[in-house]
Symmetry: C2
Subunit: 534 residues, 2 copies
Amino acid sequence: MIWQTIFLGVVFQLIFVFGGSNNNNNNYEKNVYIWPMPESVHYGNKTLILSKDFNLKTDGTKYKDESGILRDGFTRLLDVVTLNNVVEYNVGKVDPSVLLHGIHVVVLSEGDELQYGVDESYKLYINSKGNNPNYAHIEAATVYGALHALQTFSQLCHFNLNTRKLVVSQIPISITDRPRFSYRGLLIDTSRHYQSLPMIKKVIDSMAYAKLNVLHWHIVDHQSFPLEIPSFPKLWNGAYSRPERYTVAAAAEIVSYAQRRGINVLAELDVPGHARSWGIGYPALWPSKTCREPLDVSNDFTFKLINGILSDFSKIFKYRFVHLGGDEVDTTCWTLSPRIRKWMKQKGLNESSAYEYFVLKAQKIALSHGYEVINWEETFNHFGDKLDRKTVVHNWLGGGVAEQVVKAGLRCIVSNQDKWYLDHLDTEWQEFYMNEPLTNITKPEQQKLVLGGEVCAWGEHIDASDLESTIWPRAAAAAERLWTQYDKLAKDPNEATSRISNFRCLLNQRGVAAAPLDMPGRGAPDGPGSCYLQ
Amino acid sequence: MIWQTIFLGVVFQLIFVFGGSNNNNNNYEKNVYIWPMPESVHYGNKTLILSKDFNLKTDGTKYKDESGILRDGFTRLLDVVTLNNVVEYNVGKVDPSVLLHGIHVVVLSEGDELQYGVDESYKLYINSKGNNPNYAHIEAATVYGALHALQTFSQLCHFNLNTRKLVVSQIPISITDRPRFSYRGLLIDTSRHYQSLPMIKKVIDSMAYAKLNVLHWHIVDHQSFPLEIPSFPKLWNGAYSRPERYTVAAAAEIVSYAQRRGINVLAELDVPGHARSWGIGYPALWPSKTCREPLDVSNDFTFKLINGILSDFSKIFKYRFVHLGGDEVDTTCWTLSPRIRKWMKQKGLNESSAYEYFVLKAQKIALSHGYEVINWEETFNHFGDKLDRKTVVHNWLGGGVAEQVVKAGLRCIVSNQDKWYLDHLDTEWQEFYMNEPLTNITKPEQQKLVLGGEVCAWGEHIDASDLESTIWPRAAAAAERLWTQYDKLAKDPNEATSRISNFRCLLNQRGVAAAPLDMPGRGAPDGPGSCYLQ
């Protein structure tokens, strides 16, 4: 069935990629091969050839690009469109009137601070005959909108087998675009398996292709503590090995690399439940030598250490939010430890209220460092009314949570595990696509409280060998759900099959190990065949 | 059991990578973490720091490097050792006497033609205190030996967490090295699944890390014909789709990219049995519309076309050898076609002798274009005495073939499928490691006829998503078997576990999706853990 659907999709696609003419502007989605789908696309049926000296023009921009973010983005555009093609400029004569000489980018704001809610909108248009020389035009409120426009432009480029040149077809084309949600995340987990800098950078590159904008870095957990914390230098004794560590400089490099691609890094400190590895360096954090989780709630040192970590975090991770975890807290060890049991009794706390005490105290520390706090949903489920009012509740256990969170006036990020956990290999891309963050949330003021959503690649069975193939192409399905305006989303995911298939093949052509669409997560192809049909 | 073995290995490794001192020169293999193992390594226990201006010096070299092969190799060395580390030159003071300022490379020959049998040997030595400034020294007969030396050097470099600098330890060190076999191949199959240029280039990069030197490009087969053939421009109509094609310029780019890394590309034309896709463009090649394989033996056009392809090949693929396949030929369609049946009768041929006729005729065409021919072993098994005396027989069906081939005076490449097929996921790295090409071949003149061996990544279930993880780390096990002198090979593969584990983690650190060692081929890790223990 899926085979047939894809095949039909591919027929459309073949018409597009391979040079048919399309001028049905009323039903344009069928012939638009951009992922995620922009807010609005209008196009014609002419083709332009990218000139040999294709260049970036910025006349009239307010943005000075002193840090080179735009210039580097343009260079990456040139790299990415030529990666899988050898352009032959010496072949054939080219009519100068069909040359596109470059892109004229106008950014309306001077600054380039990347923060939650930064304006990511853009306009992109290419006339069939503009001024001579002809340039594509991008207009964006910020450089990050302009980067999205360059990503869109890269998807309009094709290698023409006849001319041996790169072309943009469907000219004139006019695109208006902006994200539906401001938080479009992907979680990677470097505690269960260390991921090297090149692997993380590759993930960031591919996130930018899909217009995801938050790398949720679940850095440390029960199993290992790979990050250097200058304030408490023994913490990374909890790393798996010496090479499986991140120095502060390496973490800062990741943050900078992401930021230059319009992606914020959300750092997580999953306390108190997922922190056994912390005690390798500081055993006082363990309730006892034999009962090592959660972190000792009775010990001032625990909070002094969290304060130190968050102080160090605040120098590296400049995103407005920090993630403080709070999930899956089994408090048995607190009662089993005579010391902690005694402390709880003195404070009049039971295990449940001690858990609340811990989470709220950690929140206050984070707030003191200028962060707003994200917590996993258990904190809301247990004591939602006590959470700081700026708390963002991160759903994961299942559907239906977001509506309760926003009803309570708190903000929410959606990651229900039945649909948006990438390590659930049996969840297919269609389910990722159809997972709607605003399900049953109809009031505009409540809808605004849903910041967005995130797909999660928990690392128990993910190392460098399967990271990309576990993420892609399923994360792309969620990326469209999070980027594309609701009325432009496919109501039946199969309507999007040929377009997401095209995107997965594009990832392959760019060297990304995106897996077949018609298999469970990261499944190998079940036989020979075209990328576009698998 | 494997866990225990690895763990013991890792203890040694920890001592090495993490800065213990090693001065046991008599039993050096235990403390040498180079893959594949060089012919000879002598080392001390000092450490040098790579200076900020680490540079390439070539005083006294005969090689002019006009094409920049050495210079680019040196740049790649700098890239690869810094990929996973952020060096902090502003941290701490460095004693100038422990600085290593660069590498002094002396290449003894002027030319840089890469051919079968090119001298790949090298010497690499680093004194603890050389002249001031101190340089590492590489001496090689050819630039390709020098590239191998740079790969070895890259494996000696480590990031030191205390100094935040790159260091080489075990100084003074002196390495003499050369390959055991001149043919050390990896087959990729772009007919069952197209592989993009970036994916193929990544494979080439990682081959160079393991000192493999032949990319056997099984370009076309039954399923698709992705390559442009200017002489017969309809052949690539047999591609899966328009984007899933290689232009001549793209193929030349692959060849050049490989050659600049010391890797030859062996192109294959698998005739007459694996060629159904050829008839999409030229249906006359099919025995009939309903019976489409093997190629029509009775039609002069078939051989005219093979001649055209090989003529075009000879302009791109400059390796001494071309692979003409010849395996798995089911000749039933020849008899079923009245035209071919009639022709065979006229010629006095039966199906078997017509197969021989085809293979020998194709061989002659290849020879006329200056190629020596490699054929799969069925050709030898059926009519070995008729094959051109320069034929190289490519074993695949099982063990024991090489000894028959060399007894018959022909040359051989070993790829027995029970041990060296990467798509056989149940074949573990230890079996790859222990597969000995010279089994039962004791006479020196017969040993010389074994050119080497090759691991094969047949593409039925391999696309961009699992190419790297199917190849690595198991191909590395074969790579050591093919590179390392026999007496330096581990007699029990478990003696090599910690070293190959180190190499697989090195691949991960370089962004290569090498899979866990302790799982079947490309298996995901079965739980959280350190790369060095999985």
